[in-house]
């Protein structure tokens, strides 16, 4: 690790429950044994990484979004706002204009197209960003309030916060939401490398192939980690060989790991094989990104 250019690694998986969070938290703690690292939980609907650390709360701020606020005294009830809102977030019921903050995408159309300026934009809390510190580990998470749907903008803001505060850390890890829809794209789009976590089962393979398609569409360098190796079959390994995808590590299946995870403990500290796997993953990420940058 001679070149100290900052490196962003996203940890993603097509399917939930493959061990994405386990891997992110263990990798982060493993790196933090040696140097500063930031772990950013971008699974804003269900952020779970924080459950594995007892860090000290270092900073907390509200995540805000802009929504229109009705000014009754100026309004002429012309109905333009309701007409221009594609999301049904502003409706007119008789003599009232009602705004639905959860449905609003903050496009400003209603506000700026209102002829009498009766819908100025104001900020509204949609969740909380928390920043924890545990020795050399910085842990940032955002949590959306229930019912809020603007995951993408929260993900983007959380990334910006991490960039601003921990952009100097050599390595930043992003724990991405599961699936292949917009939030995943947002979480992975400016990573230097994406680590796809899967299990060697038919479900794992199916979802991995979707995630691989996504990463290829984004033109991201990526590698695969097989978790719970030993269960299921060899199809994931064969798929990776056929598709020329690098298999970075195979983490063995064991009841011991499942038990450690369930009580929120870090696994690599108890199981040496996992520690070696993490080192292998890290080396490969660094090498690949160095190669890409040349």
């Amino acid at each position: 690790m001679t070149n100290r250019k900052p490196l962003k690694i996203a940890i993603a998986s097509g399917k939930g429950g493959t061990g994405k969070t386990t891997l992110s938290t263990n990798l982060a703690a493993f790196i933090a044994d040696q140097e500063e690292v930031a772990l950013v939980d971008l699974d804003v609907e269900e952020p779970n990484s924080g459950l594995f650390f007892n860090g000290e709360l270092f900073h907390e701020e509200e995540n805000l979004k802009m929504i229109p606020k009705w000014n009754e005294s100026k309004c002429t009830l012309c109905g333009i706002c309701q007409k221009v809102c594609n999301f049904h977030a502003v409706i007119q019921l008789g003599p009232s204009i009602i705004v639905f903050p959860e449905l609003c995408h903050s496009c400003y159309a209603c506000s700026e197209l209102c002829p009498v300026d009766a819908l100025p934009m104001v900020s509204k809390k949609i969740g909380v960003l928390r920043d924890f510190k545990l020795n050399k580990l910085h842990f940032v998470e955002s949590r959306l309030d229930i019912g809020e749907e603007q995951a993408v903008s929260t993900i983007s803001k959380t990334k910006k916060y991490a960039e601003k505060n921990y952009g100097n850390a050599h390595i930043t890890l992003f724990d991405s939401p599961p699936g292949t829809s917009c939030p995943v794209m947002e979480a992975t789009k400016d990573a230097d490398f994406v680590m796809l976590v899967t299990e060697p089962t038919p479900f794992g393979l199916h979802d991995l192939s979707l995630a691989v398609e996504t990463m290829r569409a984004l033109k991201k360098p990526f590698g695969v980690v097989v978790n719970r190796d030993g269960i299921g079959n060899n199809a994931v390994v064969e798929y990776c060989e056929k598709e020329n995808i690098h298999l970075m590590a195979r983490i063995p299946n064991s009841r011991k790991i499942a038990e450690l995870y369930s009580s929120g403990k870090l696994i690599y500290r108890e199981i040496p094989a996992v520690k070696m796997a993490l080192q292998g993953i890290l080396d490969y990420c660094l090498e690949t990104v160095e190669g890409e940058r040349k």
């Binding site: 609907e45 221009v84 594609n86 229930i146 599961p178 479900f203």
Partner: protein, 294 residues
């Protein structure tokens, strides 16, 4: 006709495997709806024949007709999502960033921008190995997982159930706590919560149950891998009691879950011992609860 929805909040708890097992136990009486469209895996266990398929559109994307564009740049100015970029005096829409708010189209002085429906994926009706029918879908990469596709899948399943006089619709619900889950829950007669005794399992169970409560739906719970963490398991049971959630069963940590999946079978086809007995018993309980008049 009764609608039973299976959800979990967190991924990887065995929700889909359990839904598939119930659909085999229910056999001809059950129409299956896979609403976990982001990671639709259930078809891997049900041998669907993809008898009918259709494109699915959701949301909109701006489209600029370059031949009429006067390059005034107003569209890029009003776009809050950075979706319109000036590339050598050509204004180009990035469909991944565009949220389809339609603001650009409304202010374009030459009306050269239109909002077009966005292809979001495909949906299918299949005959499956249980002798019954399954409605399922596949979301395109980076598509917006809205309530609309979930509602579509459920509607089609409902129509088939009515036509064919089926007793039950079994819905594999969406993950998370956002709009797709709300759509999965809406209209349900009974919810089965599948969880596991881990820090994140309990955390996500509580979060998703908030939603279930809002809809006044009676709920039952299956604790999977119950023996992996007795302390957490007890905590979950306490929560179930407090909230008056029916405790359906505890399933042990059992690799037959994966072994069955690897063979393309549901658990009840693969395992003829304890797992099958527990799941059969749960299914009978569910049928009893939804069929009894309150």
């Amino acid at each position: 006709m009764k609608e039973i929805v299976i959800i979990s909040g967190k991924g990887g708890t065995g929700k889909t495997s359990i839904t598939a097992a119930f659909s085999v136990l229910g056999g001809q009486d059950v129409v299956v709806a896979d609403c976990d469209v982001d990671a639709a895996d259930m078809h891997l266990l049900m041998q669907p024949d993809f008898d009918f398929s259709e494109d699915f559109y959701s949301g909109e994307t701006a489209y600029i007709d370059q031949s009429n564009c006067i390059r005034c740049g107003k569209c890029a100015e009003v776009c809050r999502f950075g979706a319109i970029q000036d590339k050598n005096k050509l204004f180009i829409v990035d469909p991944l960033s565009c949220e389809g708010c339609g603001y650009c189209a409304r202010i374009c002085p030459t009306n050269t921008i239109v909002n077009k429906e966005r292809l979001a994926g495909k949906w299918f009706i299949s005959n499956i190995k249980t002798g019954s029918i399954m409605v399922h879908a596949r979301l395109g990469i980076g598509a917006d997982n809205s309530g609309k596709l979930v509602a579509k899948v459920k509607d089609e399943a409902k129509e088939i159930a009515l036509e064919e006089r089926k007793d039950f619709i079994l819905v594999d619900g969406s993950p998370g706590v956002g709009c797709p889950v709300v759509s999965s829950l809406s209209g349900a007669n009974f919810v089965v919560l599948v969880t596991e005794p881990s820090v994140s399992g309990l955390h996500d169970l509580k979060r998703v149950y908030e939603l279930v409560k809002k809809f006044n739906i009676k709920a039952g719970c299956i604790i999977n891998k119950a023996d992996i963490n007795p302390v957490k398991c007890a905590e979950i049971k306490l929560f179930l009691e407090e909230e008056d959630i029916l405790h359906l069963t505890d399933l042990p940590y059992d690799e037959n879950f994966t072994n069955a999946m690897t063979e393309g079978l549901t658990i009840v086809e693969f395992d003829h011992g304890l797992l099958k007995a527990l799941l059969t018993d749960s299914w009978e309980k569910i049928k009893q609860v939804v069929s009894s008049k309150k």
